[in-house]
Symmetry: C2
DNA sequence: GCTGATATATAGTTATCGTTATCTAAATGC
DNA sequence: GCATTTAGATAACGATAACTATATATCAGC
């Protein structure tokens, strides 16, 4: 089985990036050695340095090529569910679902990257750019969605997108550590409120007691 | 100057914890060596191991004795400002204020702890407990505040507290990396919405255009 | 096939870190 | 005052990690 050099290089690069993504997500970036990444990719650390120059270079390359974000999961969830209220529940479920599915590991890595960006200007630059794009996309989808279901979000689309994404990230961070602290109804209520979803379009009332107030 | 052993021990312990808090916050836990903590406290690593047994022990002790949380800052901010809208702005300012003040470093450490808790059961246990207490306190204060200013929060006090704290954490995480992405008006709008603050009680309208919608 | 180039493997090197074992000096109790 | 306990200092160990220098395998062009 003979391949061209380009193919060989490209495959190695892909394997290294995939292995890095998986390991970084499951164990945390600092806890993963370059050798571990290389071994998981069926290569050695020499290949990593030939391709990326340093561990940081590997991380930045991974960030650059990373397509799988919060967004993909979210839109998929919305597309599937029917009623607006159910869509919000599906959004939350896709992020916080108890299955140890990939969403969990990815969101963990995303949070770690945000934290790392606070101290690493290179990571911050990449993340800021990606974030702006993600916010734009979210805002556009959100505007369409609001028209369709008759919701009146609290602010303009970009502002609402910022608030939504922040709320989701905050809830998810807490839920991962202390799931009981964030029941699904709480998350859905928060989303529905920011989105200005009229009560009659919200979820069917089996657990509507969670939206009542006891002052 | 002769001191009792208890005093000596207590002072060393305090100095070590203070140094650890400052260094962990500014550089990140993993990036700080035990020797660095000891040196900053005017001691040596031997003292750390005599007191805490391990670096993890130092971290857990720090967590246990940590009084300074998001809450202290928040309530102080509310207490000072006058109008409800201004209070919300003050809350956000105290978290996101551009001053490199201690609030910034502390919130960074808090976020790192939440992340670490996802992979460290001991940290998760401490954090979960602290979190439940913080939520209770927030909920209580929130109920009082809502009555006073005539706000009708979106859910019961505990639910609203959860949503508020999650939103703040998410916004703050984003703001630290990309301040321009989270203008103050956006944060205030989010808080006011979850708190059900009537528009006439919100901030004076110099920048009220930010609360209007362009669909 | 042979040569030059390229991709990856191999084997260090150096530095750092957590931890432990041992030693010293200070305080306590009799 | 002397023995004992205790707080903390000192020095070394062992592991691990990022990175580098060099060797080897693989491919391209002739």
């Amino acid at each position: 089985m003979t391949r061209t050099q380009q193919e060989r290089k490209a495959e190695t690069r892909g394997r290294l990036l995939d292995a890095a993504a998986a390991l970084f997500a499951s164990r945390g970036i600092d806890a993963v050695s370059v050798d571990a990444v290389a071994e998981a990719a069926g290569r050695t650390s020499g290949a990593v340095y030939a391709h990326f120059g340093s561990k940081q270079g590997l991380l930045l390359a991974l960030l650059d090529e990373w397509k799988q974000s919060m967004l993909t999961v979210l839109f998929a969830a919305v597309a599937v569910a029917g009623e607006p209220g159910d869509q919000l529940a599906a959004v939350w479920e896709s992020l916080a679902g108890d299955g140890a599915g990939p969403g969990r590991a990815w969101s963990l890595l995303e949070d770690e990257l945000w934290l790392r960006a606070s101290r690493d200007a290179d990571v911050a630059a990449v993340l800021t750019e990606r974030n702006a794009e993600a916010r734009r996309i979210t805002a556009r989808q959100l505007a369409v969605w609001a028209l369709r279901v008759g919701a009146t979000p609290v602010g303009d689309a970009e502002t609402t997108a910022t608030l939504l994404r922040a709320l989701l990230r905050g809830l998810e961070l807490e839920h991962r550590v202390d799931p009981a602290a964030v029941p699904p109804a709480t998350a859905v209520l928060g989303l529905a409120t920011l989105l200005g979803l009229p009560p009659d379009r919200q979820a069917d009332p089996p657990d509507s007691h969670l939206t009542t107030r006891r002052p």
